[in-house]
Amino acid sequence: MIKKITNISDQGIICDFGEEVNKDINKKVISLFNYLKEKSNNDEIKGIYNVIPSYNKLVVHFDLEKNNSNKIKEIISSVDLKKLTTSQSGKAWTIPVCYDDEFALDLENLTKSLKLSKEEIIKTHLETEFYVYMIGFMPGHPYMGDLDKKLFTSRLQSPRVQVPIGSVAIAEKFCIIYPYLSPGGWNIIGRTSVKLFDTKNLTNPCLFSPGDTIKFKKVSKSELK
């Protein structure tokens, strides 16, 4: 449930669902996100032009000429989160990943720090059903959880300047996929060829949505298109 709603600027508020990161809380965030987006699109709530969900926070930006923070706060406070459904979410995806050494740049180091074999790390990763908490950092970049405790690890001490496109990486209890070439400090354990953000797809450029579930499927290098 929402712990507090506070102003973050003259045109923005933040709904705080607490500090904990778990699926139940995140589902509430996504429910409220979908609700506000739908109401805004139908013009039932005027002035909202940006709604951004995260693990346990929801930011709402609005236009002061159309609405104000008090009204938005009232609307949000009056919403019964239990009755909301996480519509537009819940798609199940299977993503092919190649764990070859060529792509799994940090797998060798992880075997030492986690005291697990490569096979064990890969097996645990493949067995986990991931949940997309949010999209951020880059277009289409998913933050997925929750990793098995055996794979909990910290980020690299020195981030890489360039992480290859499609790199699958882990840190703490999360897993990510880099949709673009970018800097990054997560532990890379494989690579996928799936395009996460398609600029040519004008109807839905982002492959994943918060609330989706993802399973990884091991493929060979030749199968990785």
């Binding site: 002035g47 032009y49 709604v51 000429e65 999209i135 004008l202 982002c206």
Partner: protein, 252 residues
């Protein structure tokens, strides 16, 4: 590289190049960007005689536009002084309206310091008067062609008005808004008077120009007739032409 792009040829201190941003798609990881200072963004568009941009509708419709394959990108050139070339290749993918300011406008804008803190949301009435001022100026510039001096004078009026309204908004942020509203109304009256005087000046100069033009034509005709008289010994008086008096401000 994209097919359509801007190439900056000369940049300087405070050079910025801003578009209107991409709103409503941040949940996909797309940073919104956009104008750093919305108020000066609107102001510069008024200065440049561009359409009165409805920022909210743009933000609201952005997602709709990308879904329908019609990305709309309105570009603002800020108060910085720099030149650029716009390589416009494919209008279907880059439906861009480019706002280009003359050096005079940009210098004036910079001197008057339009880059200020965003005074948004402080005194609603002040915005109504801002809008009125913009509409007046837009209509004025649509109907009449202004000389450079007149443009500069018009800018001065607008800046003075804008600055006063900004101060009022800040002053009455937490105080009695009724007093603020009254002050805003008084300021608008002053601005309106100045604009009406300006309008009269413009019309008067236009009237004088036309009168001079008419006189010149009459003189030419007279000379022509006199030449004809010498040939034909035919005395014809030149036709008297009346020039209409300037319109009053109600025409606007």
């Amino acid at each position: 590289m994209e097919q359509s792009y801007f190439e900056v040829l000369r940049a300087g201190i405070n050079s910025t190049f801003q578009d209107k941003g991409r709103f409503g798609v941040q949940y996909m990881g797309l940073a919104p960007g956009g104008a750093m200072d919305y108020q000066s963004f609107l102001l510069s568009n008024v200065l440049l005689n561009n359409d009165n941009v409805n920022y909210y509708d743009y933000r609201k419709n952005f997602e709709h536009n990308i879904i329908n394959g019609m990305p709309t990108s309105l570009v603002k050139q800020s108060t910085a002084l720099f030149n650029y070339i716009f390589h416009y290749v494919d209008s279907s993918i880059f439906n861009t309206k480019v706002f280009v300011a003359s050096d005079t406008f940009l210098k004036r804008a910079k001197l008057n310091g339009i880059i200020r803190n965003n005074p948004y949301n402080m005194l609603d009435d002040a915005y109504i008067y801002d809008e009125k001022t913009k509409i007046f100026i837009t209509k004025l510039t649509e109907k009449l062609t202004l000389s450079k001096d007149q443009q500069v004078k018009l800018n001065d009026i607008f800046f003075a008005h804008y600055n006063m309204m900004r101060d009022l908004r800040l002053q009455f942020k937490n105080e009695d808004k009724e007093i603020g509203k009254k002050a805003a109304k008084e300021q608008w009256s002053r601005t309106e008077q100045q604009l009406i005087m300006m309008l009269n000046d413009v019309q008067r100069s236009k009237y004088n120009d036309e009168k001079m033009k008419m006189r010149k034509n009459m003189m030419n005709r007279k000379i022509k007739n006199e030449k004809g008289d010498l040939k034909n010994s035919n005395n014809k008086k030149p036709v008297e032409v009346d020039v209409e008096e300037p319109l009053d401000e109600e025409a606007f």
